[in-house]
Structures are given as structure tokens and as C-alpha cells.
Amino acid sequence: MSLSSGTSTAAVEIEGLYAAYQRQPVLENINLVFPAGQWTAIVGPNGAGKSTLFHVLTGSMKPLRGRVRAFGEPIADHRRAGHIAYMAQREAIEWDFPVSVWETVMGGRFGHMRQDAWWRRCIPARWYHPRHGDAVRDALEAVDMLAYANRPIGALSGGQKKRVLLARALAQQARILLLDEPLAGVDPPSEKLILDVLRGQRQAGRTVIMVTHDMPSARRYVDHVVLINRVIRGEGRPDDMLSDAKLAALAVSAMASSPSDDVAGSFSTATG
């Protein structure tokens, strides 16, 4: 396992990226390389632009300037090919929507189904090709939710919903996984399970990029850390980047950039 990012190829390459919400700059001059086949943690205080970065990568937000490429090609091509799986921090989901756990996870396959013959789209997926059903079953098994496959999605607890949404990202069998705070609000056993699943993904050669506030887990699991607070504050190995001095500086920089916010305080306690 190589930890030096310089020698590996880039899964995602960001050049000169600027993004803003209503003229309020959120990301400035971001130049980043996410090494392929590695597990990267993005660390920064609330409001640092981490989720915005993901919104740009998933195409739901247009950057003011800059270029984003995946494996050397425009990232939109990879989105359409189903190569990029995304798990949002706050879901835009109505939980009483009438779908089962199985159907929710099958949603991760919809990108691949576009490559199937047109007439196959007219019949339920599991009848015409076992690979979609197999992917869903494997994904649900990986997050230990197969027993709940026929439950309505709204009947699950918060941690179970999170695992199902992780399963949806896994079922996509994507080359790049974008996970926005996958560990927030889950109990310790679920956290362990999610981290182990992600380690398995990394070992299978996939690129995992996650936003997290969980420093102990980041120190233990990830290969690469990006510190961000509107601009890139550093990137490198977890041991170097997640030192107390570096994190304190990151929190202070949050204070300087948004003095009215109390995020710096809550952030430094979260680093514990």
C-alpha cells in the first residue's frame, strides 16, 4: 500500500476551482488531486465548503470557475456512466415515500440500466438481468441489512437508513465513492461496520473520498487527508495532517474567516 500520493494516478483532479453561494465565496482557488485507489478524508470546520465541493463533483452546483476531471476525462461523462456514487449528508428524501429498502438500493443501479437495451427498461430489473439484483443483494449483505429488504424505507431507524443509503452507493459498484459525513449520527457498532465496509471498498481498488469530523477514525483508517477551509489548508498523510497543532490552526482559520460563527469551538471539541 503506497501512501505517497505523488506516484499514483489521479481519480479526481480539480484545477482552479471557485464556487459561491449568492456571491458569498465558499471555495477559492482549489487545486486538488484525489489519488486513485486510496481513501481520502476531507477535514474542515462547518461552513468550510466540504459539502459544496461534493455538490460540484456531483453536478448539482455549477462552479464559478475551474475544471474538474475524473481519470483524465470530464467528470460528467463518468457521472453518466455510473462511475460516481454519492451519499449526501442531509438527504433530500421524504421518508414516507412508498419504496422498500430493496427498491431504494436498486436506485443505485439506475445509472447502469441506461446502458441496457431500451426494451429492458420497460420491465422490472430483476427479471431481465441478475446482475442488478446480485449487486443489490451483495450491497445489502455488506451493510447487514438484507433481512430488512422488504421493509418500507420509512420504517427504519436513523442508523439503519444511513446503512441502506451506503448500500445504495455500494450497489452502484462505482469507481469513486463520495461520502458526506457517513459517520455522523450513527452508533459505535454501525460506525465500525461502515468503516470496515469502506476499507473493503478501498482494498477492492475503489477510490473513497469522505468528509468527516471523526478524527480518531480518520487517523486509523484513511490513506490521505485534505484540510480545507474555503481554501486548501494542507494535504498529506494522516499522521502529519491530523496533528493537534494543524487542527488547532485549522480551527483558528475558521475563526478568522467567519468570526460570527461559533463553529470553531464546536469543531475543536469534535476533534477529541
Partner: protein, 307 residues
Amino acid sequence: MELLSTLGNGLVNGLISALMVVVNLLPDTLSDAFQYRFMQRALLTSVMVGAICGLLSCYVVLKRWSLLGDAISHAVLPGVAIAYLLGWPFFIGAFITGALTSIGIGAIERHTRIKSDAAMGLMFTGAFALGIVIISKIASSTHLMHILFGNVLGVRESALVLTLVASVIALLVVWLCFRPLLLYAFDPQQAQALGFNTSVIHYGLILLLTLTIVASLETVGIILVVAMLITPGATAHLLTDRFRSMMLISVAVGVSSAVIGLWLSAALDVASGGTIVLVATGWFFAALVFSPRHGVLARQWRRWRMS
């Protein structure tokens, strides 16, 4: 054009004959009303309007688009009036102003600080007011009443063909684009991340909604069509936790309300649009009380058993 209208009329006659086979199986007291040609036409329109409204109703309810449906249906009025002025078929004008208003709502919502409910309220009342002003100048008030509240008994052959075409389009689109529409309704962020063009899906769905409203205009009218776009879906949502069965139940509620409502309006000699909507509302309250999982009785029963 000649060929198309013969084809349309032939299809309509065929469908009516097929419906009459079913109707004639019913006891005479029920089927007697349908011996007249205008009743047969009304029956066919009601069935189709009930079906497409029921289909689209699922998206309207799940996407919280009730107010948007209301807005589009009202915004159709100036189009009808202008088409009448220019001698165009009414549905062309209706479709244009309905679509323009929904695009206008989206633009205001996206580019200003006005929230969506205010944007809708503002746009559709404006369009509706314009329609009222134009109609007050050019047509009698009975005309206005028919547009506002519908008159399924007086439905014309041309409107019937339009409803038929709209139903076929809606059915095909929902069937062929089932997965993108489902994913967009459930989780638009995910649809975006999978590379689906969500603005095309969004506006496509709105256009489909507009088409449905225009097709339902002569049956239930502008004011009450929104009921047919909400009540069947809401009723189905109380009865099931699966999207496909929700669609089936919703279509069943739509069609049965339209048919029973039509029969009642003929039997009691009352306004057809109103009776159709009242029957649908009746279904909804029945589901609200008796639904096995989400009904009031079932909830009370569970609470009673727990304590």
C-alpha cells in the same frame, strides 16, 4: 388531417363500444343512463381523465406539488380565452399559458429571494385574473362557468380525441421513463449524481402535468381538476407502501370516482365536476378511517393494544 380525425373518431367509437360491453353487464337501473350517446362519450372521457389524473396524482402528492397543480390549472384560463379570440383550438392556448406560467414560477423561485409558494400564488392569480378580464369581454357567463367547473355531459368529440391523445402520451412517458421519474421524485440529489438531467425531468414532469390538466378541462373544469390531481394519490398513499401499487390504487380511485360521479350527476341531475370530486373525497375519507396500516382505526387499535 382528414385521415387523423377519422382515425381518432374510429378509435373513440371502438373504445365506447368496448366500454358499453362492460356497462351492459350491469343491472338495468345502472346501465339505463348510458343508452344516450352523450352519456357514452361522457363515460369514456371520465374513465380516461380519472386514469391520467390518478397516474400523475402520485407524483403531485409525493413531490408536494399540490399548489403547483392548482397554479397550472388556473393559469390555463387566459390561454383558453386567447385561443377563443384567435379562433384556435382551446387546448393549444391552454397548454401555452399553463407551461409559460410554470416556467415563470420556476424562474422567480430560482433567481429571486421570493419563496416558491409566494411565486406560485402570485403568478397563477395574475394569469387567472387576465383570463377573467378577457372572458368577461368576449363571452357569456355560462361559458365561463363551463370552463371553471367543467361539463362532462356536453363534452365534444374533438375534446374527447384530445383527452385520448393526452392519456396515451402520459401513459407512455410514465412507463418508458419510470425509473428516472421515480428516482427524481424520491431523491433528486441522487438522480443528479447519477448523471440524469434533473431539469429536463423536472420540466418534463411539469409539462406532463399541464397536458393532463388541459385534457381534463372539459370534464371537471379548471377549479376542480386539482382535486383529481391530489385526492387519488393521497388516498393511495394511505393504503400502500409500494410505489407501483400506489399508482394502481390511485388510478383505480381516479377512474371509479369519475364513473360513479358521472352516474350520480346524471341520476340526481347535479353538476358533474362536483359529484366526481365528491366521490373521490369520499374514497379519501374511507381510506383515512379504514386503511389497514395508516388509517385512524388501525392506529387507535394499535394504541389500545399497547396500553
